[in-house]
C-alpha cells in the first residue's frame, strides 16, 4: 500500500499529510502510533521515549464515562505527570468545556465530542500529536473554531504535530509544511513549505499559494 515513504519531523513543527482518499495517510499514522505492525521500516524518535497523543477521525470517547473522566483517564498515573502540566481547568476553559464536564458523550454533538477528544490529546502534554482528519463532517463554522483552538494549543505547548487531511486549504492555513502522498503504491510526491506568515493566511497570498500547488500537483490536490 505504501512504498519508500520516509520523512522527518522537526520538533515543534506543524506538518500536514495530504493526499486523496485511500492512499494510505491513515495507515501511516497508525504505523507511527504502533497500531499497525505489518510493515518494513523503522520509526525513530529522538529521544526514544516520547509521549504520543492522537485525535482520531471518530472522537473515540468512552461512552460510559463523563467528559471530565474521559480526559483524566488519558493522563498518566499521578506520579508520572510532568511538573509543568497546567491544571486541566484552564484547558477545559480554552475549549469551552467548563459547563459540560459532567455530561456523557451520548449527550454531545459531534463538534463537542471532537473538542473533548482534542482536550484529551492536549491534556497529556504530548511530545508528538497525530491527528487524522479531525474536522471532517463538521460545519465550517465549528470546524474553524476548532482549527483556531488547535493552533492556539499547539503554539502554547510546542508539540510536534502531524495532521492528516484531504482539505488542502485547511492544511495550508494550519501547517508550516505539507507532505503530499499519492500513487499506487503511495509514495511521497511533494514536500512543500508554506511560506506565508500565519497572520496573512486568510488573504490573497493563500489563494496564490494554493493555485500554484494545484498547478504543480493536480493529481494529489484535486482528488
Amino acid at each position: 500500500m505504501l512504498r519508500d515513504l520516509a520523512f522527518a519531523l522537526a520538533p515543534g513543527s506543524f506538518t500536514c499529510l495530504i493526499g486523496p482518499s485511500g492512499c494510505g495517510k491513515t495507515t501511516t499514522l497508525r504505523i507511527i502510533l504502533g497500531l499497525d505492525r505489518e510493515f518494513d521500516g523503522t520509526i525513530v524518535t529522538s529521544p526514544p521515549d516520547l509521549r504520543f497523543a492522537a485525535v482520531f477521525q471518530e472522537p473515540r470517547l468512552l461512552p460510559w464515562r463523563t467528559v471530565e473522566q474521559n480526559v483524566r483517564l488519558a493522563l498518566p498515573p499521578e506520579n508520572q505527570i510532568p511538573a509543568e502540566t497546567p491544571p486541566l481547568d484552564q484547558l477545559f476553559a480554552v475549549l469551552g468545556l467548563e459547563t459540560l464536564l459532567g455530561r456523557y458523550p451520548g449527550e454531545l454533538s459531534l463538534g463537542l465530542a471532537r473538542r473533548v477528544a482534542l482536550a484529551r490529546a492536549f491534556a497529556v502534554m504530548p511530545d508528538i500529536l497525530l491527528l487524522d482528519e479531525p474536522f471532517v463532517s463538521l460545519d465550517e463554522h465549528t470546524a474553524d473554531r476548532l482549527r483556531a483552538h488547535l493552533v492556539d494549543l499547539w503554539q502554547a505547548r510546542a508539540t510536534t504535530v502531524l495532521m492528516v487531511t484531504h482539505n488542502v486549504r485547511e492544511a495550508a492555513r494550519l501547517a508550516d509544511r505539507l507532505l503530499l502522498v499519492n500513487g499506487r503504491p503511495a509514495r511521497l510526491v511533494g514536500d512543500i513549505a508554506v511560506p506565508i506568515p500565519r497572520p496573512e493566511r486568510d488573504g490573497p497570498a493563500l489563494r496564490t499559494f494554493l493555485a500554484a500547488l494545484t498547478r504543480d500537483h493536480p493529481a494529489t490536490v484535486l482528488a
Binding site: L33, G34, L35, F52, A53, A54, F56, E58, R60, L62, P63, W64, R65, T66, L73, A74, P76, P77, Y104, P105, G106, E107, R120, V124
Partner: protein, 250 residues
C-alpha cells in the same frame, strides 16, 4: 399500576374459587397457604431453609459467573483457545442437568461441595457462550485509543473492557440466576437434607400441597425481592450514561 394489582387480585380470587369448588385437601386455597407459611415462619423453619438455599444459590452463582466470564472472554479473544474448548462447551451445554447432578454426587460424594459444583457446572457453559459473544463485540477503536494513551492493564480492564462486557454479564447473570435456583432445588431434593428443595420433597411425600406452594411462593418472593432491590437499581446506575436513560428512569 392499578391494572397489575387488579390482575393479581383477580388471580387470587380465581384460586380461592377453584379451591372451594374442589373441596379436597390437595387443592388448598390462598389462605391455607398463608396459614402454613405463618406457622413455618414462627417455628423458624422457613427462615432456616430459605437461608440455606439462598446461600447455595449465591455460591453457585458467583463461581459460575467468575469462571464462565474468564473462560468466555478468553475464548472470544483467542481463536486457538476457542477451537480447542468449543467442543467441550457444546458437550456441556447439552448434557442434561440431572445427569450432571447425579454424576457429581456419585463421583464427589453426597456433599455440599458436590451440590454446588453440580449447579455451577450446569451454568458455566451458558455464561461462557454469552461472554464469548461479548468479547467478540468489543470495540477495537476504544482499545486502540487506550493503547495510544498508554492505559495500564487495570485501567483498560476497568474503564474500557468491563463496561462493554456489562450487558453480556447482565444477560448471563439474569438467566443464570433464574436457572441456578431451579437447579439448586433439584440438587437439594436429590442429595441434601435441608433447603427449600428438601422441604418440597418432604411435603411431596406427605402430599401437603399447601406446604409445597408455601415454600415455592416464599422462594419466588425472595427472588423477586433480589430483582427489585438489588438487580434493577444496579442496572439503572450502570446504564446511566446511555442516551434516554433519564427518560427511562422517569
Amino acid at each position: 399500576m392499578p391494572l397489575r394489582l387488579l390482575s393479581i387480585l383477580g388471580f387470587l380470587l380465581l384460586w380461592s374459587a377453584a379451591a372451594a369448588l374442589a373441596a379436597r385437601p390437595e387443592v388448598p386455597g390462598p389462605l391455607d397457604v398463608l396459614a402454613f407459611l405463618a406457622g413455618e415462619a414462627a417455628s423458624g423453619e422457613l427462615f432456616y431453609h430459605l437461608t440455606i438455599t439462598l446461600a447455595r444459590v449465591a455460591a453457585a452463582f458467583l463461581i459460575a459467573m467468575f469462571i464462565g466470564t474468564a473462560i468466555g472472554v478468553l475464548m472470544g479473544q483467542n481463536r486457538t483457545l476457542n477451537r480447542v474448548l468449543d467442543p467441550w462447551i457444546i458437550l456441556m451445554i447439552n448434557i442434561p442437568a440431572l445427569v450432571v447432578i447425579v454424576l457429581c454426587y456419585i463421583w464427589i460424594g453426597l456433599t455440599e461441595a458436590a451440590a454446588i459444583t453440580a449447579v455451577a457446572l450446569n451454568k458455566i457453559p451458558n455464561v461462557v457462550v454469552t461472554l464469548r459473544e461479548g468479547a467478540r463485540a468489543l470495540d477495537l477503536k476504544l482499545q486502540e485509543m487506550a493503547r495510544v494513551f498508554r492505559f495500564s492493564r487495570a485501567r483498560l480492564l476497568r474503564h474500557v473492557i468491563l463496561p462493554q462486557l456489562f450487558p453480556f454479564i447482565a444477560a448471563a447473570g439474569r438467566s443464570g440466576l433464574a436457572l441456578i435456583w431451579k437447579i439448586v432445588l433439584v440438587v437439594e431434593l436429590l442429595g441434601r437434607s435441608n433447603g427449600v428443595g428438601f422441604q418440597i420433597h418432604l411435603y411431596f411425600q406427605l402430599f401437603d400441597v399447601a406446604a409445597i406452594l408455601g415454600y415455592a411462593l416464599a422462594f419466588v418472593c425472595i427472588m423477586l425481592l433480589i430483582e427489585f432491590v438489588v438487580v434493577q437499581p444496579l442496572e439503572t446506575h450502570l446504564n446511566r450514561w446511555r442516551p434516554g436513560a433519564a427518560a427511562r428512569a422517569a
